[in-house]
């Protein structure tokens, strides 16, 4: 019977999976991508997948990128799904960004900051012009860059392990609200606790830290453009390696377990009137994520600020609406749901057809309900 719906679902799936694998490997002259190549030469992609995946493993992130053929949403998903099957062995204490081994720190607020500005590796001032010599690049070229880099004058200058926060100076002057003692409060764990709105700030920060870069950017940008008025000043943006400690299994003393590359952004925004008549202080926004992803960190800091405004005064635009922002920035969720519409909806559509036929019928008869 020709009208029977496609049967053989299992075979179809298998063939589709094989087709995907063929697409990735079809040029048999090429050598397979090495994870090491992805980690170094595609470090921007790696950063993005690490932060959206919410699991810091450069090795697994590189494998995910390879397996997902470079699709960031898919690659981040591999990390998330893997995480679901991992038992929790322990928890780190709350770490402060001031412990970071900095490779880049800039402040838009002050020309000179304690410890100095460090431009570090940034694409900000690269002229976006094609370098056609990269079309033919070899190992020799790589070594030359390395040699040049290490021969740069001043390379042997000692720089401190850590730098003070720009915010500390403002805080000392009393221009900022007192710091919440984050170490005292256990942060909300979005992977283990149900979300019930309104959420604590730490939950919002966690959701945004894993947020899809483009989504966080779009929502943050909407506020900057005029659907909101946070008007941030970047007090400090830093990129670097944050040492992670875990309690020693016997002594309970913190032991360094490794370090993770992170981007952290702190913005200062205009002050609010205080109900209790205390002198006005600046307001703050905080953003941080795995890897190097500066646009995401800046937008996250703006959204942290805008949602605080929304919580206090009621949201007057999307970026101030906690539910709107936090339920729509996750790439894994939005991508999954958007693609699910491709799945069969025969039953629901049959039901829709029934309603429209019945309604047309009623309209045609001039039926008076």
């Amino acid at each position: 019977m020709s009208y029977v719906a496609a049967k053989g679902g299992r075979k179809a799936i298998q063939a589709a999976n094989e087709a995907m694998e063929y697409l990735r490997t079809r040029n048999t002259d090429q050598s397979a991508l090495l994870l090491e190549t992805i980690k170094t030469q595609l470090h921007g992609l790696l950063s993005r997948v690490l932060s959206e995946g919410g699991l810091y493993s450069e090795e697994l992130a590189a494998l995910a990128i390879k397996q997902a053929a470079g699709d960031t949403l898919e690659a981040a998903y591999y990390l998330r799904a893997h995480r679901s099957a991992c038992p929790r062995l322990g928890e780190t204490p709350v770490h402060c960004g001031s412990e970071m081994r900095v490779i880049r720190r800039v402040s838009a607020a002050f020309k000179d900051i304690p410890g100095g500005q460090i431009l570090g590796p940034t694409p900000d001032y690269l002229q976006r012009l094609f370098r056609f010599e990269l079309l033919k690049e070899d190992q020799q070229a790589f070594s030359e860059v390395t040699q040049r880099w290490f021969a740069t004058p001043g390379m042997d200058t000692e720089i401190p392990d850590t730098f003070p926060k720009v915010l500390d100076a403002l805080r000392a002057e009393g221009l900022l609200p007192p710091a919440e003692d984050a170490a005292e409060k256990r942060p909300f764990d979005i992977t283990r606790e149900p979300l019930v709105f309104p959420l604590p700030r730490s939950a919002g920060l966690s959701i945004m830290a894993r947020g899809e870069t483009g989504s966080v950017l779009a929502m943050g940008y909407s506020n900057m453009r005029g659907y909101g008025d946070v008007h941030p000043t970047v007090a400090e943006l830093r990129v670097g390696y944050l040492p992670i400690t875990v309690p020693h299994s016997v002594t309970g003393e913190p032991v360094e377990a490794g370090e993770i590359l992170m981007t952290e952004c702190e913005v200062v925004a205009m002050f609010e009137a205080d109900e209790e008549g205390a002198p006005p202080v600046f307001t703050l926004g905080y953003g941080a994520c795995f890897g190097r992803n500066e646009a995401k960190a800046v937008c996250m800091a703006v959204l942290d600020r805008s949602m605080d405004i929304g919580r206090k005064q009621g949201p007057s635009n999307p970026s101030e609406d906690e539910e709107f922002v936090l339920l729509h920035v996750d790439g894994i969720e939005s991508m999954g749901f958007a693609t699910h519409y491709k799945m069969p909806h025969y039953i629901t559509f049959e039901s829709d057809l029934d309603r429209i036929r019945q309604a047309r019928n009623a309209a045609g008869k001039g039926e008076d309900a």
Partner: protein, 277 residues
């Protein structure tokens, strides 16, 4: 006549409030912001009775606290102190200030009605005029479609809205007609108490007059007790048998409307009456 509403010591302060708030504000001081803590005393120690079938007027300038009293009585806001007993019905008197959200909603849906100055607060513009009336009937537990259609069309006839417009959206109506739909909606469950908040403000004089006539007719026909809040002496003169005068959150004068208007005792009332002449 029996009282339907007993209001005692109703107080609402915006802000953190302190012990000095009440003493440091009010008509004698001439302000409602507490100099100690900066809180705003929206209304304080408001007490009055509303009799069955009576229309009580509350008059005052903007910021006098009259709309706060309405918001508190309709349980859209929480009082800091005071109570408001609603009588009538089979059950014993209910303190409106002591209800939880669900109880407040149920009481509002069944026994109270409100007409706002801005019809956008009282009507949903995404649904038809009839749907707005239906919503209130559905909230009060009537789920019969044909009943709801009948009641809604009767109410629209009664409030002089063409029944042919019943299935149109309120946004396509004139200002006066939107107010009539609001009134029809408020009346749909035959409330014991109807609150009218500046219902004619902003309308043409001729439209105002017809709406005020309608309110008077409804009161005579249905015997609904009403509180009318306005800054317009004309509205008070026409509708209210008794009037409260409010200033900086306090009642400064009360009495029969004619008496208050002809022989105002408080300086503020005198000023108000003089300015209207």
């Amino acid at each position: 006549m029996k009282p339907i509403l007993d209001v005692k010591g109703l107080t609402r302060i915006h802000g953190k409030s302190c012990d000095g708030c009440l003493a440091a504000t009010g008509p004698k001081v001439g302000g409602n912001q507490c100099p100690h803590c900066g809180s705003i005393v929206a209304c304080a120690d408001v007490s009055f009775q509303l009799m069955e079938g009576e229309i009580l007027g509350i008059i005052g300038e903007s910021g006098s606290g009259k709309s706060t009293v309405i918001r508190l009585l309709y349980m859209l806001d929480q009082a800091l102190a005071g109570g408001a007993l609603l009588h009538g019905g089979e059950e014993s008197a209910i303190d409106l200030m002591a209800l939880n959200r669900a109880q407040a909603r149920q009481l509002r849906d069944r026994h109270m009605g409100i007409v706002h100055q801005n019809p956008r607060l009282g009507l949903n513009y995404q649904i038809s005029a009839g749907g707005n009336i239906a919503e209130r009937l559905l909230m009060s537990g009537n789920r019969r479609y044909h009943d709801i259609r009948r009641i809604a069309s009767e109410l629209l006839v009664r409030t002089e809205v063409p029944v042919s417009r019943m299935d149109d959206f309120p946004g396509t109506f004139s200002g006066g007609m939107q107010q009539r739909v609001q009134i029809a909606k408020a009346l749909s469950t035959r409330p014991r108490l109807l609150l009218l908040d500046e219902v004619t403000t902003g309308l043409d004089l001729s439209v105002q007059a017809r709406i005020l006539d309608l309110i008077l007719e409804l009161q005579r026909e249905l015997g609904i007790s009403m509180i009318v809040v306005t800054h317009d002496l004309g509205v008070i003169r026409l509708l209210a048998s008794r009037t409260l005068v409010m200033k900086t959150g306090r009642i400064v004068e009360s009495g029969l409307t004619d008496q208050v208007l002809q022989d105002p005792q408080h300086a503020y009332t005198q000023q108000l009456v003089a300015s209207a002449l």
